[in-house]
């Protein structure tokens, strides 16, 4: 067992699950989407990105790309949430919530690709 692979798999999967948890629920209802979960998703996604640094294989490059996409989407969602909650007059309207959640939905897709890559990599690995 390779500890590096355990940590790597853990963070990639955790990023996907947290993202999924935030995304789950009625897209326009702010009560169903906890901002702490978004925060946790961002932090874990960033850590997963850093873990993917410095891998010279082709699959490593695609891994890094998916993570960067997820980071971009999640950080956009966080910025949008910050804007809607703190800076605009209306507060967190259903429309604003829908935007935040749909952005995180895009990140979820990238995270799913990441998990698929992880599974593919694992399956194609033969112990000789």
């Amino acid at each position: 067992m390779n500890l590096e692979k355990v940590v790597f798999g853990f963070f990639v999967l955790l990023a996907a699950t947290l993202n999924f948890g935030f995304f789950l629920g009625d897209i326009a209802n702010p009560a169903l989407h906890n901002v702490y979960e978004l925060f946790a998703a961002i932090v874990v996604s960033l850590i997963a990105t850093v873990l993917k640094f410095g891998d010279r294989t082709q699959i490593g490059a695609v891994h890094l790309a998916t993570s960067l996409v997820a980071d971009l989407q999640l950080i956009s969602a966080a910025l949008f949430w910050t804007f809607a909650d703190g800076l605009s007059q209306e507060g967190l309207t259903p429309a604003a919530t829908a935007s935040v959640v749909s952005l995180s939905g895009g990140a979820l897709f990238a995270n799913v690709v990441s998990v698929v890559l992880l599974v593919v990599e694992t399956v194609s690995y033969h112990r000789r």
Partner: protein, 622 residues
Amino acid sequence: MGNPLLAFWFRFLQDDDELPRRMQRWIPLVSSVQASATIFLILRRMRAPLIVLITIFAVSVLGLTLIPGQDGEGNPHRLGFFDAFYFMSYTASTIGFGELPYPFTQEQRLWVTISIYLTVIGWAYAIGSLLALFQGRAFRQARALQQFSHRVARMREPFLLLVGYGRTGELLARSFDAMGRRFVVIDADPDRIDALDLASYHADVPALAADAHNPGHLGVAGLANPQCDGVLALTNDDEANLAVTMTAALLRPELPVIARTISQSIGSRMQAFGSPTVVDPFDRFGDHLRIALRAPATYQLMMWLESGPGAPLPSRGSPPAEGRWVMCGYGRFGRHLTEDLRAEGLDVTIVEPKPLPDVEGVVVGDGFEPAVMKRAGVAEAVGFVAGTDNDTSNLSLIAAARRVNPDLWVAARQNRPTSESLFAVMEVDALLVPTEVVAHEVFAQLATPLLWRFLQEVPALGDRWAAGMLDRMVDHCGQELPLLWKIRFVAEETPTLMAWLASGQARLGDLLRDPDDRDEELPVVALMVLRDGECVPGPADDFVLDCDDELLLCGEAGARRALGMTLVVDATREYVLTGRHVPASWAWRRMAALRHRDEGHRDEGHRDEGHRDEGHRDEDHW
């Protein structure tokens, strides 16, 4: 050719045999691989610091949003994520705007205190790791390599690849720089590369501290560049020179290679790869000495021409061609020189500490001992050679020999550049400095192709001819070696002269005149004309030039520019050759042509035909 579409069009539009050779042959390049490896290494090493930093930030920000606080009126208020992140950002980077948006409660301050220590440690760790990586040797080397390969790839004019920047390399670099030739330098010793950075050359000289045994290094240094037009292997290490010769011959067989060696076996191994020019300084010195024995002025002329621009005229030594010579030190140098001297019919006595059973005329012993001097017969000898591989020994040998026989003609070998001043004080008649011999030889071969040809011809022309040529050069150009350059009389180089050359009346003396005052001769000397592979050395003023002739000239830079004007500007050509002033600008020429036509009508064609033809041809040029 990364793009297959580009490759397709390239092949489609160009014939296969027209492809540059480097496309057909794969030349290894070391830089891109190494540089990307270094970047990946940095990313990999930065993983831990970055994750620590992200974690510390996440924990601090999360804690700050969870801990209850108060607003200005004492109502409960929690920091949002944005406020918490903003606060942690400026606190962690030690900017510290204060407690925003409201003053903190005691609980919040407790948490912030912990966070400050954590984040400062996190930042210090991350920045410290990054700086350590940038300072690392591997990273700096990769960066230097990257910059070097970019600079070489941007070279847009022909350049030479100089492997080994020792004393020889430095001398050559100076000569080539003075001539305006570009070059790229590789040396295994980083100190020598630093020395090159300090030396102020006119042109930009890309230099890299790298091992020349690696073909990848030679590849980035220009072997893969189509502009590279020669490789010089001049390191102190024969093995490395062999490796460079081999690499160049295998990867770019069409390139000329000049390699230095002092070992005959390495020399013959080099010859096995293509046809490199192998320069052996000991061998060359012997050859030169043989020329000097027969023809001192020829020797003087050759030495001067080989020394490069600005060299002072060497003195004309005359080694004694009859009598007995004493040779101290029978190493590689001594053996070469003894063979050469004996081939000239001279009697040579060898002094060597070790007995040499299979060589005749050997006196065993240390040369500086008076008893050995006596046995070797230094008192009756005419020539003396101090040829050991130790400068101190050589100097004391010269001193001891001169004490016995002050009239000796002395040749010596200088091994280290630092001994130069000592040998200069000793006023040796002929001094072998191996590095300089190699530098001069390489310069003569590469400066202009005609110079090398000329030097091949000179020994056959005799001493008197060489003395006459030397007098002419000193008369015209002074005691310092002027520039050497060649002119080829073809339409691309000398567009104005083609009709004159075709007339069969093209006397060389008419061409070499001052464009400001044609009664003055230009201070240049024509060394040689090459016509259909045949040499005419030292053409006189009434030599008749023809198309496709090549002319080797020496003269000052000013004279070269003046002659250049004559070769390309019609008006200057007209004045220099005939003394007529013709207008140079387009408008004046048109007006002059109109006036001529009017006069022609009035005079009913009394003008001479040749002149009118001249005018028409000028217009065709424009």
